[in-house]
């Protein structure tokens, strides 16, 4: 009961914060639509994909994944903000403990990812042929992708102490994850080395999962996609719990700093 109240409190706070940062929210929604409309329209004229699939229809699952990936991962900035301004320390010192704090954070970031991806998903009938059943499957896949993205975002945020650092690092991580995932173009055409990297990229399986949901040909079996996406989420969550442990029992080898030496607060 106590832990669930804390989880609910964290989710409610994060969603309230998100809805009050309208420019960030609108930017998150605009990004996939810009790709779909501006880049997609141009590529429709020149791209030739197997099976005669128009580029916009091909890229649609990838754009949904992009919305969830950016929404889920960028929301982790709240965690860095809270660490910088001392709020995270209070949360970790609550009776609920680090597990509840992380769960609340992952749920909130997932909901943001689902919201941003869901807005893209709402226009699916304008771009791809989709039945109600497919749409629901895509929504389920979107939820899994958003949750995985939220967990990855928290892992990035786990040891960062300033919002500026997060902003600098997250783009270096996000863009390779996106460009080497098959979201925007097939990985089959990539050089072997990059294709091998793409196979190690969890977002590749997330995009593939969404392709299956929309009835498009996937690169991997559906079961493989589900196992990888959920597995990365669970392993990421477990790793996050260790990294966020306020006592640093499991991360004692990471150099420790005196509390007064942090930029603003630890």
């Amino acid at each position: 009961m106590s832990a669930w109240s804390a989880v609910y409190g964290i989710v409610a706070r994060d969603l309230t914060r998100t809805t009050r940062q309208t420019s960030r929210l609108l930017g998150g929604v605009a990004r996939p639509f810009m790709w779909l409309l501006l880049v997609g329209t141009g590529y429709n004229a020149i791209a030739r994909l197997e099976g005669g699939l128009p580029y916009q229809a091909y890229v649609f699952p990838g754009v949904v994944a992009m919305a969830a990936l950016f929404g889920g991962m960028l929301t982790a900035v709240s965690t860095v903000y809270d660490r910088e301004f001392g709020m995270l320390r209070l949360m970790l010192a609550s009776p609920a403990g680090p597990g509840a704090v992380l769960l609340g954070r992952v749920l909130a970031a997932s909901l943001v990812g689902i919201l941003q991806g869901g807005i893209v998903l709402a226009v699916a009938p304008l771009v791809v042929s989709v039945t109600g059943e497919r749409w629901l499957l895509a929504l389920g896949a979107l939820a899994a992708v958003a949750a995985m993205s939220a967990t990855l975002g928290l892992l990035v945020a786990a040891r960062l102490r300033s919002v500026e650092n997060f902003a600098g690092i997250i783009n270096v991580i996000l863009f390779p994850l996106l460009f080497l995932s098959g979201a925007l173009y097939p990985t089959a055409g990539m050089p072997p080395a990059l294709r091998a990297v793409a196979r190690l990229n969890p977002v590749t399986y997330a995009v593939d999962l969404l392709r299956h949901a929309f009835g498009q040909a996937g690169e991997f079996a559906l079961a493989t996609d589900v196992v990888v996406v959920l597995g990365v989420m669970l392993v990421g969550f477990a790793a996050g719990t260790l990294l966020f442990d306020p006592e640093q029992r499991f991360t004692a080898r990471i150099p420790r700093r005196p509390p007064d030496s942090a930029p603003a607060s630890p």
Binding site: S5, G86, L92, A96, E247
Partner: protein, 314 residues
């Protein structure tokens, strides 16, 4: 069976790499007491508080809060704690009420219970006029009051407050101490706080002085002051050293502290010979007698190296 004390530490210590932030803290804080932790920056005050708040694991020693071990019974310890750190932990994007509701939920309260606790905290903190305002619109003093309301919202048995009034004007400092006094009076809350405003530690039941990660003195403020002397003489000017030596020769100086402007001499015995000696001393720009303060205790206890040699009782 006697109830365990609010805090019991034995040899509690923590390092950051090769830096010994807290060497070995021995401390027993009875329930319901007010304990001030003083010391220069980097003395180990914040580290001690983080250890007691279960946010750091000790490298040495042990600590129990209301009988619960801070390492193996963290959840039980956290249920009894209210925390406040140096930086204000208020979310500027949320209103005061929303900030407090978040804190209530974080401490495990739900629904009606959380809303009732928030309403009570707003009333106790005098925050009614500001409850709907975004916290970013509040002044630093009011934000700190929101912080205090947050820390006391769930009526904790132990408040750990790291510099609760840092950077505040006297009016807001007074408001904060009046809220804390009421918590002690009405609920018997134990309060452990650190401060650089030494006057704030005067009403404490016990003062703990830390320097370079060690406890250098701890006692009731009256007893700490009495160790230095019955009265303090402040002596400035080119002749200050000569007069200080003369006071020592007279047997009136219990403690001699060298300061940037001269000497502070803790005096014992009759006052008249001291005044007479000072009245005839050449090149003394200023000679003043006043009660011994915690600031004198602070200087006497926390100085190091050459200064320490001059700070020990004469």
């Amino acid at each position: 069976m006697t109830e365990p004390p609010a805090i019991a530490c034995e040899g509690l210590g923590r390092d950051y790499g090769s830096v010994r932030a807290l060497d070995a803290l021995d401390l027993v804080v009875p329930r319901g007491t007010l304990v001030g932790v003083l010391g220069p920056n980097g003395a180990g005050k914040t580290t001690a508080m983080l250890l007691l708040a279960t946010l750091l694991a000790p490298d040495r020693g042990a600590a129990r809060v209301f009988g619960h071990d801070v390492t193996s019974e963290r959840a039980a310890v956290r249920r009894r704690l209210g925390l406040l750190f140096q930086e204000t932990s208020v979310d500027g994007l949320l209103s005061v009420r929303e900030n407090l509701l978040f804190a209530a939920r974080l401490s495990g309260m739900g629904g009606r219970l959380a809303r009732a606790a928030v309403a009570d905290a707003i009333e106790r903190g005098g925050l009614g006029a500001h409850s709907g305002r975004p916290a970013r619109e509040l002044s630093g003093g009011w934000r700190r009051l929101v912080d205090i309301a947050r820390a006391t919202l769930h009526r904790p048995d132990l408040l750990i407050l790291d510099e609760p009034t840092v950077g505040l004007d006297p009016e807001h400092r007074e408001m904060i101490w009046s809220i804390l006094d009421r918590e002690r009076r009405e609920h018997g809350t134990t309060i452990l706080f650190s401060t650089h405003y030494l006057a704030e530690a005067e009403p404490a039941d016990r003062v703990v002085l830390l320097a370079a990660g060690r406890v250098v003195a701890q006692d009731a403020p009256d007893r700490l002051r009495a160790r230095l002397g019955e009265e303090m003489a402040e002596i400035e000017g080119p002749g200050a050293e000569r007069l200080t030596r003369a006071l020592r020769g007279l047997g009136a100086a219990r403690t001699i502290l060298r300061t940037g402007r001269g000497y502070r001499v803790g005096l014992v015995g009759p006052r008249e010979p001291v005044v007479e000696l000072a009245g005839g001393a050449p090149e003394v720009a200023r000679f003043a007698l006043r009660p011994v303060s915690l600031e004198d205790v602070y200087f006497a206890s926390t100085r190091s190296g050459d200064e320490a040699a001059e700070a020990v009782p004469a």
